[in-house]
Amino acid sequence: MIPEIGHILLIITFVSSFIQSIFWIITLGSRNTVNLIILQKFAVTNFILISSSFSILLYSFIISDFSLLIVTNNSHSLKPLIYKISGLWGNHEGSLMLWTLILTFFTYLISRNKSQISFKLLSSILGVQTIILFSFLAFILFTSNPFERLETPPIDGKGLNPLLQDPGLAFHPPILYLGYVGLSVSFSFAVAALITGEINQIWARQIRPWITIAWSALTLGIALGSWWAYYELGWGGWWFWDPVENASFMPWLIATALLHSVRLLETRLILVSWTVLLAILGFSFSLLGTFIVRSGLLTSVHAFATDPSRGIFILIILTIATGVPLILYAIRSSDLYTEKKIEFSVFSKETALLINNLFLSTATLTILIGTLYPLFLDAFNGEKISIGPAYYNATFAPIMAPVILIMAIAPFLNWGTKINNNFSKKILFIIFITVLGALVLSMIKGATLFSIVCGSLSIWLFSGVLINFISQTKLNNLKKGEFRSWLNQLINNNLGMHIAHLGVAVFLAGITGEQFFKTEINGRKNIGDIIKIGDRSLKFDDVKFESGPNYKSEMAIFTLSKNNNLIDTLKPEKRFYPVQQTQTTEAAILSEFFGDTYLVLGDGNKEIGWSVRLYYNPLVSWIWGGACLMALGGIISIFRNRKTKPNIIIRNTI
């Protein structure tokens, strides 16, 4: 009975979101503020309805109600509570429920906006959000109903994919969805701007926190996914240029470009239509990602339900959601705002941000090609190819290098034509530090040209961020005193940006260590064998067979020591989950600040020994540390208070 209530609530929201969309379209030209108030009320009701329906589904998961198909397929009564809950979004239907929950929550937050944003713009934003809600509810109700019942409920569930039973992954989807749905907000802003013809600095100011939230969430979500791939999958890598990874990386790149172009729009009122286009594309790429993952075009750990009829539905949503705004864009964007010719020198923030956007969008394009090309080729002549790291190293990496170069300098460039006085001094400082760093790097054993370039870029950025941070904070005469006012000053002095850029430097350092200086040892080892890694030694002590709550395990025990002093015990494992008939590899990882010792157990037995793979990955944890810093920087910058009054430019064309 209870699940049916959840289903009915969904249907009610579906019908009412349809009525709301119609209401919005009818009242589009009206100047009556009452319409906005009605739309705001709708936003609240939608949020309440969807969260009730979501709670009911959550309840069914918590009590393990196996009469629901989704619970049977994705849960098991023996599973820990946290994984029962994460089982909700670890599948196609449930993840869509989470998606709509976040969507209605964000719409509710926008509806409470009390700033100078005009009521026409706000009602259009709410209207577009409602249409998105409507199409997703249609998708849920017609192709992926989470409340589907089973006629004969089984005694127990089929469990979750054991690979997905991991804290890193339990939070990977919801955080990623925060990002995707956040991009739907900036999308709605863009479409609303195209409809109302209203775009100005207030618009830019209001859209920025949403882009920042989306960007930070995407950063964190992607990092969590990559961290999970590294720790759980046991492939010894952290990024594979898998189409599914690319599907989340493309929206991230677009969001990054958007974050910077909106800054130009906010301060200089240039790149207006470009920013609108990026805002539309950000969400389109999220939808494209959804399509790639769920249509059955790909099969991987990520591919939820491979059902082409769902693929068709998403393709229709994608076509309408991107097609209509792009038509609007083609017709209206030239009318949006006639950009004044502004002057800026080569060494200005404008140039830097323009280059940033140019390169980031080109980088997105290379990934788009790399992701779609194999699909197209397969479709046209059945040829199966896979595009791997070689392609991306040759295309993506060189495009990103200039972005890094400029990233270090851009923050201390001035707007307009006035060149910063200390510019040459600062540049010389950065060059000096980088050359020094490159020399040190070239002395490390195993250093290659690429490793030096990559490492130097990281050092370049480190020193750039450092000198920036110092000069900007000194410039504003940081007052010591109460902690909060001190912190506020820091935040208003671009603390968020400094931290995010520092994150990129840390991330690059991690890549340099992991890509160019890792050691890999493969071989068949038996109990008693000793493996040397640098000045440490790893001894194979024993193999044990144990059973866990829902799996059987084969566990090897290794001891890592330096000069006969025990450092740690490593226990790589192979697990067999009988219910799902799957085997997983649990790599044993000793994670230290300067590097990870990563050990994987392969097949074997006492007679012939076991195949063992060992990696030493220097600085690898800096990769995720850097990503976390980026996300942190984003979150901090949301709290930035922008006092300066914008020039208000409003053009009503309807």
Binding site: P308, L315, L326, I331, D378, A379
Partner: protein, 182 residues
């Protein structure tokens, strides 16, 4: 309201629609391909039995010996991968019993131990002429087994002629296996 359409502004739209068009095409093909791949085809059909020795479980005599497929030469027989821990194997047990009335059935206990296996056979009946043990899952790999239960039919020349993945249900037995036996 004036419309001022420039070609450059149409570009994103044109690019986008061409991508969508091709994606739709790809999807269309996948939809048709899926119909073919639904039935798991075994690479082994039409080939002879994989040459891997399978230790036999013998509860009466404690002699270690391997299953000798030559014992069944000139006979149609079935090989059934099962396990005591596998729930669908319990469902198919009566059908395997039925099958064993017509042809010999060799059971291969996949990742199982002898004791649990004995209990399983006591509870659900023992339709097997011989039972092999595959506790490491090596045999299953050689036979290309996707998961237990799985059933193979072998003809008089020792060639695999049929494979069924999943529990052997009555309708499969009637529509697929019985005609083959005739």
């Amino acid at each position: 309201m004036s419309y001022n359409v420039k070609i450059i502004k149409m570009l994103p739209l044109i690019l986008f629609f061409s991508i969508v068009l091709v994606l739709g095409l790809v999807l269309y093909q996948v939809k048709y391909d899926l119909k073919d791949t639904k039935e798991l085809k075994s690479q082994l059909i039409g080939k002879s039995i994989p040459l891997i020795s399978i230790p036999e479980i013998n509860y009466d005599k404690k002699i270690n010996k391997n299953i000798n497929f030559n014992d069944f030469k000139n006979n149609i027989f079935a090989v059934n991968f099962f396990a005591s821990w596998c729930a669908p194997c319990r469902i198919e047990a009566p059908v395997v019993e039925e099958l064993s009335k017509f042809i010999p059935v060799i059971g291969i206990a996949y990742k199982d131990n002898a004791e649990d296996n004995k209990k399983f056979l006591n509870d659900y009946g023992n339709p097997y002429d011989k039972i092999g043990l595959d506790n490491l899952g090596k045999v299953a790999i050689e036979w290309g087994v996707y998961g237990v239960p799985e059933t193979f039919l072998i003809n008089r020349n020792g060639i695999i002629i049929y494979r069924h993945a999943g529990p052997l249900l009555y309708d499969v037995y009637k529509t697929d296996i019985l005609p083959l036996l005739e």
